[in-house]
């Protein structure tokens, strides 16, 4: 069997599994549809959360990003895992005790206000739509690269699968497909890396191997070798940092707080049976995420070393087959600037290196590499069997589909529960609400598919927006709602609006109105638009606390509500 046949078989089998789960787990009530009746085992919820969280970007792009950033790539590693500490310690157990269905539910009830609920609905919808468009695009790209169908066909196939289990099963169907998808994606991520780690370092554990010595050159550490290879071509040492400390600090903070404020992650903790299980479930989720996230920097190091060793100054005709395969996809492009038939790959933006390059007769960097190739081409670079390539395709699809489904559920509940049931038509029955939820999920799948086929040009730009907005709106409102009994409606709403307006204005200015000014000299306190959500969050806290001092305290029943969510179980008053 060739690569395509293997890919078809493995992807087909994984899809059959997801559809089987969908039929088995059809939801019969809104409680099943929204929170899987709160009966999910904490380990299963941990796996589902990990699959929900790890998107096409985590699976396909992250290792590549790190491999070109070196030590600075730690912003993504820490930013996208550190948020789970905040989630576990500050949010998950209390929201589980609160025990409703959505994030706008908490904001609306805690701040006894329809306006607060509406602000939360708008944020939840915006954040989730931005995210889901990117996932559908990811599905289309994987299909087109591995199965050579066009992107539209790929997106339509992906949409139909998600439609099956999200619309039929709601949270229940999504949870158990996500468990299966986690298993597929982590297996697909680890298998090639373990082989490569064995080949390059002799150690099967990549997390340890990439700090060790090289198999081919005993006594030489892989990281030292990589630092040297890069510096010989004018790049900064891999283990050193380039970006300003303040920027790294605030981007990491914004990613962490944004992670903890993303509605599709928060609602997963409503699905477990108890407060203590919500806590342990956050731990399991982080374990399953950390398995992939600690492997990614090893992938980055192996791939970059391979690339620098095999490609630079090699005649184009003598390059291995994977190079020519991926050149056809346009992810690798070689332009022979000095017409010597060899590939020169070096840092042509480093003025200190220019004399050396000129002396060697090089006329600029001739290789352009898309960062996605680091994971996608990994099995071929390591000459692994064809079925491994099919496995990576199935893993990437699992990552994209699982995240898309979680987001679609947030969109459908925001419409059927938060908007229709809580604001527009409170008198509808459970059956009617369930039907509206299904219809809303159906429309959301179609809208997401449309954006996947015709992506608005600004998708990449607005992902920073999603995190910044989640950081500047939900996180402070929820934390204050739990930890500050005195926090009232006026404080929370003005805080959220201040945070959102500031963050949105900063990002819109630098990304859309005046992109040419988007340079470190013009940034506020040297903070890039990616990190500005941190400042928006601090502003939200400051405004909310100040306003709440000058306005009346929340009513008694709200203070009682806060007292109740702070304890796992009510005390018997007679005891």
């Amino acid at each position: 069997m060739d690569v395509q046949a293997w890919t078809l078989v493995i992807v087909g089998l994984s899809f059959a599994l997801y559809i089987g789960i969908a039929i088995w787990s059809k939801a019969g009530s809104t409680r099943e549809f929204y929170v899987a009746s709160s009966t999910v085992h904490p380990v299963h919820n941990g796996m589902a959360t990990a699959a929900d969280w790890m998107s096409a970007a985590s699976f396909i792009s992250m290792a590549g990003l790190i491999s070109f950033m070196g030590r600075d790539g730690g912003v993504y590693l820490m930013g996208w895992t550190g948020g789970y500490v905040l989630l576990a310690l500050l949010l998950a157990p209390y929201l589980r005790k609160f025990g409703k269905f959505t994030v706008p539910d908490f904001v609306g009830d805690r701040y006894y206000s329809r306006s607060a609920r509406v602000v939360a609905i708008v944020c939840a919808l915006f954040v989730s739509f931005v995210y889901v468009a990117g996932q559908m695009r990811g599905v289309g790209i994987v299909f087109s690269r591995f199965l050579e169908v066009n992107i539209t066909t790929g997106v339509v196939v992906g949409m139909s699968i998600v439609f099956c289990y999200a619309v039929l099963g709601g949270m229940k169907g999504i949870t158990y497909t996500q468990v299966a998808q986690y298993c597929v994606l982590i297996f697909a991520y680890l298998v090639p890396v373990i082989f490569i780690s064995l080949m390059m370092t002799g150690n099967p554990i990549p997390q340890i191997g990439f700090f060790g010595e090289m198999k081919d050159e005993p006594g030489v550490r892989l990281l030292d070798k990589l630092d040297g290879l890069g510096q010989d071509l004018g790049f900064p040492a891999y283990t050193s940092g380039v970006r300003a400390t303040a920027d790294i600090f605030f981007i990491t903070l914004a990613l962490m707080v944004g992670t903890a404020g993303l509605p599709h992650i928060i609602i997963r903790f409503y699905t477990v049976p108890s407060v203590s299980k919500a806590r342990s479930s956050a731990g399991w989720a982080l374990l399953f995420i950390v398995i992939l996230y600690t492997t990614a920097p090893a992938v980055a190091v192996f791939a970059r070393t391979n690339l620098l060793q095999t490609v630079h100054n090699t005649p184009h005709t003598e390059l291995p087959p994977w190079f020519h395969n991926w050149e056809r996809t346009g992810l690798l492009t070689f332009t022979d600037k000095n017409q010597d038939g060899r590939v020169q790959y070096y840092n042509d933006t480093n003025p200190a290196f220019t004399p050396k390059a000129e002396a060697a007769g090089w006329k600029g960097n001739e290789l352009r590499i898309d960062r996605d190739i680091i994971v996608l081409a990994n099995p071929e670079i390591a000459r692994l069997p064809d079925w491994v390539v099919g496995l990576v395709a199935a893993g990437a699809l699992a990552a994209a589909l699982s995240t898309a489904a979680g987001l679609l559920l947030v969109i459908s509940t925001a419409v059927s529960h938060d908007l229709i049931k809580k604001i527009v038509r409170p008198d509808i029955t459970d059956k009617q609400e369930l039907l509206i939820a299904r219809v809303a999920a159906g429309f959301a799948v179609i809208a997401a598919g449309y954006f996947g086929i015709r992506p608005p040009g600004f998708v990449a730009e607005v992902v920073a927006f999603a995190f910044g907005l989640a950081a500047a709106s939900f996180f402070p409102a929820i934390v204050l709602g739990i930890f500050n009994k005195r926090m009232n409606r006026e404080g929370a709403i003005s805080g959220m609006i201040a945070g959102i307006v500031f963050t949105a204005a900063y990002i819109i200015y630098f990304k859309f109105i005046n992109p040419s000014a988007n340079t470190p000299e013009n940034w506020f306190l040297h903070i890039s638009p990616e990190g500005i959500g941190s400042i928006g969050m601090l502003l939200n806290f400051a405004v909310a606390i100040t306003v709440s001092w000058f306005t009346p305290p929340p009513p008694h029943e709200i203070q009682d509500l806060v007292a109740r969510i702070r304890v796992p179980r009510e005390l018997d008053p007679t005891a």
Binding site: G74, M78, L89, T239, T252, S274, G283, P568
Partner: protein
């Protein structure tokens, strides 16, 4: 009322656990891996610069440990105050 005092004491103990664990969280990530990463990189453990290791591995393993320590400490606290669920 006794149960209210008990709840208040539980909340104070709960906050103490949360804030001490978040202090470690801050030191591991923002301290060791960002603010003082260059200083730590001068220290080499088994030949690896320590700051780089913290940024690419250590901080994530510390996060994981923190959450499980939190789960354990809270389980004990719930029992001590007779607020456990099962």
């Amino acid at each position: 009322m006794a149960s209210e005092e008990k709840q208040a004491a539980y909340w104070i103990a709960n906050r103490r656990i949360v804030f001490s664990l978040l202090t470690v969280w801050f030191i591991a990530s923002f301290g060791c891996s960002i603010l003082f990463v260059d200083e730590l990189d001068r220290v080499r453990v088994f030949g690896t610069p320590l700051g780089f290791w913290m940024a690419h591995q250590g901080s994530m393993w510390i996060f994981l440990a923190l959450v499980f320590i939190y789960v354990g400490l809270m389980k004990r606290l719930d029992r001590k105050f007779d607020l456990h669920e099962d």
